[in-house]
């Protein structure tokens, strides 16, 4: 009877650990789908952003320098050797920083392009979606037993600058969003059953 009780206590745990797997798998699939969807959205955002900045943005020969953005680095090849959870942790941190930067860009664009409501809405949505994707990554990391590292520092607000530097910053942020979301999609793809990982 005792054994039976013990086994009864133990079974739910075993069941929960078993049932957690499908839930985690579903969460990974869902997050992966979100990353794939946001990759498409990020590409659209970048194109629309360029359209609204005027010359020389969007011209074929225009290739601005990839200036560093405070608090956010570009996904680099140095991360290639890291384990997937660590890469996902970097992805989540970058997405959190991008969400704040996108809000900054949206505010500057509201001044520079007040008559581009669709762009402003896209920027707002992109920031929200980056936060959502970061939160989903945190959930996945938590489920994988690799909790995110403490509170992330807010990226310092860039000093007020002219219109052109503001446009350049926006372009850089949109580009980084596309890169990071795309990398997140790839990293999650390694976790998806049947995926490359």
């Amino acid at each position: 009877m005792l054994n039976s009780t013990n086994s009864h206590r133990k079974d739910p745990q075993a069941d929960s650990s078993v049932s957690l797997l499908p839930h985690l798998e579903a969460k990974i699939r869902q997050t992966h789908s979100l990353a794939r969807l946001l990759t498409k959205y990020a590409e659209q955002l970048l194109q629309e952003y360029v359209q609204h900045q005027g010359d020389p943005f969007g011209q074929p020969g225009f290739s601005p320098p990839r200036l560093p953005v405070a608090g956010l680095s570009a996904p680099g090849p140095s991360h290639a050797g890291l384990p997937v959870p660590e890469r996902l942790r970097l992805d989540a941190a970058a997405l959190a920083a991008l969400a704040a930067l996108l809000e900054l860009v949206r505010r500057r664009q509201a001044e520079l392009n007040p008559r581009a409501p669709r762009l402003l809405r896209r920027l707002e949505d992109a920031g929200r979606q980056a936060r959502a994707l970061g939160a989903a990554l945190d959930t996945v990391l938590a489920a994988l037993g690799a909790a995110a590292r403490g509170p992330r520092p807010e990226p310092p607000a860039p000093a007020a600058a002219g219109a052109f530097p503001a446009k350049l910053l926006g372009l850089r942020v949109c580009g980084l969003l596309r890169d990071w979301v795309s990398r997140t999609e790839g990293d999650l793809g390694q976790l998806v059953p049947g995926g490359p990982g």
């Binding site: 869902q30 789908s33 979100l34 979606q129 936060r131």
Partner: protein, 885 residues
């Protein structure tokens, strides 16, 4: 500055007014609570508190308070007097939605006055919203619905709240008219779980629904697949391939489908097994279909895992399977003509058309093969369902196949026995009986095996002859029924004209045909007319009724006939229009054009003849006081210058000049001509009676004849026979003596005035060619008797003209007589003799001046008798002129 002053003044006025009104409206008490909202069915207590000043003023206290609800007194039992100034009332089990509760007081113990009033609202607190669910229509915003619970009867607000794990979204407030749904303001983000719930609140409380957490991608209702198309395959007659374009949502989710199909005439749908179409695709091949049959398809989709909603059905698309060879041999039979000549017999082979599902396509023709002695073959190909052949008395084997685009049917074989063949083992106990609205035929099968049965029958009718028909049955059956269509075709009009109507109808569904539709009969009639029937071939779906009456109501119905009978369809009415299309325009436009043309021609005619019209309608009456004498000299050339025909025919030449030609003729006139002359004389009398005044016609002036003779030798022959009616006008005027003695000549006493306007009218016709003599004479009559009453003269003249053409001499005599008669009528008895003498003398002895002078004197006397002015008195003339008397 002034504006500021105005504002200050206005503010002061408003303040003072408010103060005064506040004092005026200061009630004697109040009710607590002020605006109560209570739950329906509950008890409610209100307290009315009187102010001290009113208690003193009205000499009343709280015991004088009377409570009323909706103007009705509340029973005293529900009152409670709390103290000297306060009274409470308790309303139990409040059921009304709104109650007007007033506190009243008896002032001075008897005068009821209202103290205060409130409105008590009752309702229910909100229930917890249930069944919250959301739907994301592809490309649109998310909408959530819920069950709001019972009616609260109060203003109740429903708010849909939503949030991600990371942030909250804007509240969605339901509209009052749709408290059970709300459309969020933001675009959904797939693959991010969202949590939604509904909060509801009113004056009696709040409630919150269960939270719903979901990924919006699981609530998607995709757009339906579009551009659905159907194509067949020439290789397989049982398949149709569907293709479509998926909705855009396919990029983020896999889809599954429902595909349904039916034949064109069917009403129920069949479904493709769902497991065959459980993943995203853009085409599908449907199998196991009937050949040469039109199918209708539709498709819808949803997320493949079943989470979400089915899309709406796509637009329907149809396609026809390809043909297949006929699946059945046609029913085959024969008839032998009883007449038998020269060892041959006439045999008519007959067969039935295949039903559509048996023909599997359009039957192009039938092939008949006749075999005698297993070697002699005769082949026939026909489109008809019968074939007449002359056969010998031998036994034949006939085979029949039906052919369509793909191939031939199996062959139907039929043995045509020899002439001397005697049938054995006939069918026994043949009987027919009605049952279940069908005519059944039953028989006893013979003992030997049977390949097939042929039933022959005809309709017995007093009005129509027995036309045998037949039906083939399998050899294993011994009972069958004769079928007729279960319903008739529905006819309608395609186009209705003034005298014709194009009718159209759909082919009866196969299930309703119950056999082969042999023909249709269209019955049409007017409300009062007889019904007319028209037979139409079964292959048609359209027919034009002609010779209809316009603007008439027609009733038409159709009957479909199989061999077994017919069935009426519903009656259809239509009305022919009064006018054909464009007919009104065809009438109105030519009429308008004709009217326009006529008006134009009339205007042109009037314009051209304005002088003539003016003369007849507004004759130009000259002022005698302004007249002067036109000069005329016997040597004036115009008198002899009259060779031109234009001048001869000119109206002006004859307006004031009257000429009568008298030709010498020894012969006596014909009696008929004399008659015409008599008529002419009568006419002249009547004409004179109507003439008067200076504006009178020249017929008047002709009654003053004068004879002129010309000194022109060349024209002596003509002029000698011419009597000119003219008037000698004195050249003086108003007793003025002209410096030169000039004599003017005129035909009457008056036309001098007219001649002033047209001096050329004074020209005389002296030299008229003999060949043209008729015309001047005609002109004479027309000119001198141109009034309406002169028409008889024309006929008289025409008779004279005939005489002239036949016998010139006789005509001269006739003219003499005519002239003499005319003068005798015109001038009275006193002058007849003299004129006759003159005219006769002039005719046979031209140039006799003395006679001319005598006649001239007569004219002068006549003029004097009518009171003519002295200036018209005849004057002495020289040779060629007038001789004074």
């Amino acid at each position: 500055m002034s504006t500021l002053q105005i504002w200050v003044a206005q503010a002061l006025v408003i303040f003072l007014t408010t103060e005064s009104v506040g004092e005026l409206l200061d009630p004697c008490g109040y009710i607590n609570p002020e605006s109560p909202v209570i739950e329906r069915g509950s008890n409610f207590t209100a307290v009315c508190v009187l102010k001290e000043k009113c208690v003193d003023y009205y000499h009343a206290n709280a015991s004088y308070i009377v409570w009323k609800t909706n103007h009705l007194n509340v029973p005293k039992e529900q009152y409670t007097t709390i103290n000297r100034t306060a009274s409470s009332v308790t309303l139990t089990n409040v059921a009304s939605l709104s109650i007007q509760l007033t506190c009243n007081i008896f002032a001075y113990g008897q005068i009821e006055q209202n103290v205060y009033g409130i409105t008590v609202l009752s309702g229910f607190p909100p229930e917890k919203p249930k069944n919250l669910n959301c739907i994301v229509n592809e490309g649109k915003r998310m909408m959530c619905q819920w069950d709001p619970g019972r009616e609260t009867y109060l203003e109740t607000n429903f708010t849909l709240k939503s949030e991600w794990a990371t942030e909250k979204f804007e509240d969605c407030k339901a509209k009052p008219d749709t408290p059970n749904s709300c459309l969020v303001s933001y675009a959904p983000v797939y693959f991010v779980n969202i949590e939604v719930w509904v909060e509801v609140e009113n004056a009696l409380g709040t409630a919150t629904s269960d939270h719903l957490n979901f990924d919006p991608v699981e609530k998607v209702k995709p757009n339906p697949p579009h551009n659905l198309s159907v194509s067949n395959s020439e290789e397989l007659s049982s398949i149709l391939k569907l293709t479509w374009i998926n909705p855009n949502i396919k990029t983020i989710m896999t889809l599954k489908y429902n595909i349904e199909y039916r034949t064109k005439d069917a009403s129920t749908w069949s479904q493709i097994p769902p497991e065959d179409i459980a993943s995203t695709r853009f085409s599908f091949t449907v199998q196991d279909l009937k050949p040469f049959t039109e199918y209708v398809f539709r498709i819808r989709c949803m997320r493949s895992n079943g989470k979400g909603f089915w899309s709406d059905w796509s637009e329907e698309a149809s396609g026809i399977t390809y043909e297949d060879r006929p699946s059945k041999a046609p029913s085959f039979w024969y008839k032998i003509n009883p007449s038998h000549t020269h060892g041959y017999r006439t045999v008519q082979l007959i067969w039935k058309t295949l039903l559509p599902f048996e023909a599997n396509g359009k039957i192009l023709d039938y092939e008949v093969t006749l075999t005698r002695w297993k070697s002699h073959l005769q082949n026939y190909t026909t489109n008809d369902t019968k074939l007449t052949v002359n056969l010998t008395d031998d036994r034949y084997i006939a085979t029949l196949t039906a052919r369509n685009l793909v191939g031939k049917s199996d062959a139907s074989a039929l043995t045509i026995p020899a002439c001397d063949f005697q049938a054995t083992h006939p069918v026994m106990d043949l009987k027919a009986f009605p049952k279940d609205n069908m005519l059944w035929v039953e028989w006893t099968a013979p003992s030997k095996s049977v390949k097939k049965y042929i039933l022959e029958w005809c309709v017995l009718s007093d009005s129509s002859p027995c036309i045998p028909d037949w039906q083939q049955e399998d050899g294993t059956v011994h009972r069958t029924y004769l079928r007729a269509p279960s319903k008739g075709p529905i006819v309608r009009t395609k186009k209705v004209g003034k005298n014709e109507a194009v009718l159209e109808w759909d082919q009866l569904p196969v299930d309703a045909q119950n056999g082969f539709i042999r023909n249709y009969t269209i019955f049409y009639r007017t409300v009062i007319g007889n019904e007319t029937a028209v037979n139409v071939d079964s292959s048609h779906t359209e027919y034009t009724l002609s010779s209809l009456t316009s603007d008439t109501l027609y009733m038409v119905r159709m009957t479909a006939y199989t061999d077994e009978g017919g069935k009426d369809g519903p009656e259809f009415t239509f009305t022919t229009p009064k006018f054909a299309q464009g007919e009104i325009e065809a009438i109105v436009v030519p009429v308008c054009l004709a009217f326009l043309l006529t008006t134009l021609l009339g205007v042109l005619f009037c314009f051209n003849k304005r002088d003539l019209i003016k003369k007849h309608i507004w004759p130009n009456v000259p002022d005698p006081s302004k007249s002067h004498i036109a000069q005329w000299s016997p040597h004036t050339p115009p008198r002899h210058n009259f060779n031109s025909k234009d001048q001869m025919y000119s109206d002006g030449n004859f307006t004031d000049v009257s000429v009568v030609e008298i030709e010498a003729n020894d012969k006596k006139p014909f009696p008929e001509d004399l008659k015409s002359l008599d008529l002419f004389k009568k006419e002249k009398i009547s004409t004179e009676g109507h003439s008067s005044g200076i504006g009178g016609s020249s017929c008047m002036s002709s009654s003053r004849p004068s004879i002129s003779s010309s000194d022109d030798n060349e024209s002596t022959q003509n002029t000698s026979s011419t009597v000119q009616y003219s008037t000698v006008v004195h050249s003086g005027y108003r007793h003025q003596v002209p410096s030169v003695q000039v004599f003017s000549r005129s035909e009457s006493t008056q036309p001098l005035l007219d001649s002033e306007e047209r001096p050329e009218d004074l020209q005389l016709v002296d030299n008229v060619d003999n060949n043209d003599e008729i015309l001047p004479r005609q002109q004479y009559f027309k000119q001198n008797c141109s009034q309406p009453e002169t028409s008889p003269d024309i006929s008289h003249f025409e008779r004279s003209k005939q005489v002239s053409s036949s016998n010139e001499e006789d005509f001269v005599r006739l003219k003499q007589q005519q002239i003499s008669d005319l003068i005798s009528q015109s001038c009275g008895s006193g002058q007849i003799k003299m004129f006759q003498e003159v005219s006769t003398a002039d005719a046979f002895a031209p140039g006799t001046e003395g006679q001319v002078e005598r006649f001239e004197a007569v004219g002068m006397e006549a003029a004097t008798d009518e009171g003519m002015p002295k200036s018209y008195l005849p004057q002495t003339v020289r040779q060629g002129g007038y001789v004074p008397q």
